[in-house]
């Protein structure tokens, strides 16, 4: 019934799924770029993967603009409109952090000393896992399926773990023999890396609230 009134909503639904798929690709390329950088240093492949990450991040921006345009042209009821817009605003911080990290490494020609390699890799792995869980959680919310709270607690656990790694790394960096400039560069990089799981956790909490809010 009233199907003819909901063309925009169907278009919007498909755009949001496109956005999430694109976020997944951005994250995949970020991970590949980081692996390349940590294993082989700043090389041609790393540059290519940064460009690929940027391409998907820009694509995400385009999709977001289309989503906003549809929202402003009266798709969805106002409450859902506000919820989805706020959620996307929160989610899009994550690909920006990916880009920030990659550009930081490229422009500052940062080298991660071997002594910190394990923790950095672990920090990246857990942060990216949090993002994957977050995307899964948003998908569950959109599909009104169970399991949102379980994912919230998994993301929260990851965030605590990342905080722990981040703090440990900071101590290690400032206890090391590196020069102060390098220490501060690494500090900035580690903070940015830690921000990924923090942001995934923020989004996850928001998703949980939105789910609770939807119940009458």
């Amino acid at each position: 019934m009233f199907g003819f009134l909901f063309k925009k909503e169907k278009q919007l639904e498909s755009l949001i799924y496109q956005y999430l798929e694109n976020l997944g690709k951005t994250q995949e390329h970020f991970l590949k770029a980081m692996d390349t950088c940590l294993d082989d240093g700043i090389c041609g492949e790393f540059g290519f993967l940064i460009d690929q990450t940027h391409k998907f991040e820009s694509k995400a921006d385009e999709i977001r603009d289309e989503i906003n345009y549809l929202m402003y042209s009266r798709a969805l009821i106002p409450e859902s409109r506000e919820d989805i817009m706020n959620l996307i605003e929160q989610v899009e911080i994550i690909p920006r952090i990916f880009e920030l990290i990659l550009h930081m490494i490229r422009t500052q020609k940062l080298k991660i000393p071997e002594a910190f390699m394990f923790e950095v890799k672990e920090l990246i792995r857990i942060s990216v896992e949090s993002c994957e869980l977050m995307i899964k959680q948003i998908d569950l919310m959109l599909k009104n399926r169970h399991g949102i709270r379980a994912l919230l607690s998994a993301i929260d656990h990851n965030e605590s773990h990342c905080d722990h790694i981040e703090r440990g790394l900071m101590f290690k960096v400032f206890d090391s023999e590196l020069d102060m400039v390098h220490k501060l560069q690494l500090k900035e990089l580690i903070v940015a890396m830690g921000e990924i799981s923090d942001q995934a956790d923020r989004v996850s909490r928001r998703v949980n609230i939105l789910t609770l809010k939807r119940r009458v």
Binding site: E9, I77, S80, L142, R215, V216
Partner: protein, 313 residues
């Protein structure tokens, strides 16, 4: 045709003011375009008036016997009352204004159907209370079903929007069925119109008001309802419609605004929140008590004025 203008004007102002109770939340929140809402509202008002307007017309025409001149006085007095109270910023019920004006003429005729009047007044008290109860029952029952529906966020959104359109159309139907009597019942009593003609002219007058002048009121009243979440807004419109429909079946014209206010209060009870400000409530109550005596007074004055005769010395 000229004597009917008072009734047409009353019907027009009723449509312009009360369409907001049916589609206000949907239009103000940009969920439904005004043109679609106004079109649906006008259509269902006319259908409602023709299908179920008879009972209300029979009740009002039997309150007191009137002639054509008195019928004109009644409709003009009711229209003036609603206009004055609206200018004063007090919510006025067209049903109460019409009955108040009929009473004024009834005093002149010294013939009032007290049993009919008692039924009408009892229903006025029952309207907000009935709407509170309807909102409580609908919120609980529909809420339980809604929470169990295996639908996505987008399907839920579409369901709520469709529900608001369907509920708005139903509320429009009950608006036409219940309130058409206010506009043209007295002309049936005066023998000028048949019941069918009264329902048709009254329904069309209300529809004209909806189509030509309801946008502003929809935006203003709607914004107050939009503060409720979409599900509550749907329940409010539906509970208002169910309540007004109940009184339509009893043959008593009641206020759709008061039904909606009752439903909003019902939602407030469920959520444990104050959905209507105390000052607004006082305004509603004063409008509620003032409308019938003011309409009665204006009808008496008008009737008295048109019977003044110049007697030269």
């Amino acid at each position: 045709m000229l004597p009917l203008l008072g009734g047409v004007f009353l019907g027009w102002s009723l449509g312009a003011n009360d369409a907001a109770n049916c589609f206000g939340s949907a239009v103000a929140s940009r969920m439904v375009k005004f043109r679609l809402a106004a079109g649906l509202c006008a259509l269902f008002v006319v259908i409602g008036a023709l299908a179920e307007g008879r009972a209300g017309i029979e009740t009002l025409k039997d309150l007191t016997p009137v002639n054509l001149e008195q019928a004109v006085v009644i409709t003009v007095a009711a229209a003036l009352t609603v206009s004055i109270l609206t200018i004063l910023g007090l919510p006025a019920s067209t049903s109460q204004a019409a009955v108040g004006a009929i009473l004024g003429i009834g005093f002149f005729n010294q013939e009032i159907n007290l049993a009919g009047l008692g039924k009408v007044v009892a229903c006025w008290f029952g309207t907000p209370i009935g709407a509170v109860l309807a909102a409580l029952a609908l919120y609980r029952s529909l809420g339980a079903i809604y929470n169990r529906l295996p639908i996505t966020l987008f399907q839920s959104d579409m369901l709520l929007r469709s529900g608001l359109i369907a509920a708005g159309s139903y509320a429009s139907y009950t608006l036409g069925a219940n309130n058409v009597a206010n506009a043209t019942a007295v002309f049936v009593g005066a023998g000028t119109l048949s019941v069918f003609a009264a329902a048709l002219i009254g329904g069309l007058s209300i529809a004209l008001g909806v189509l030509t002048y309801s946008r502003g009121v929809m935006e203003t009243v709607g914004r107050k309802l939009v503060r409720l979440d979409p599900f509550s807004a749907l329940v409010v419109v539906l509970a208002g419609g169910v309540t007004v429909h109940f009184y339509t079946l009893l043959g008593v014209p009641v206020s759709t605004s008061q039904a909606v206010i009752g439903a909003v209060l019902g939602i407030g009870i469920i959520k444990g929140a104050q959905t209507i400000k105390r000052a607004t409530l006082y305004g509603i109550l004063s409008g509620w008590f003032l409308t019938p005596p003011i309409a009665c007074f204006i009808a008496i004055c008008l009737h008295f004025a048109i019977h003044l005769k110049y007697i030269p010395h």
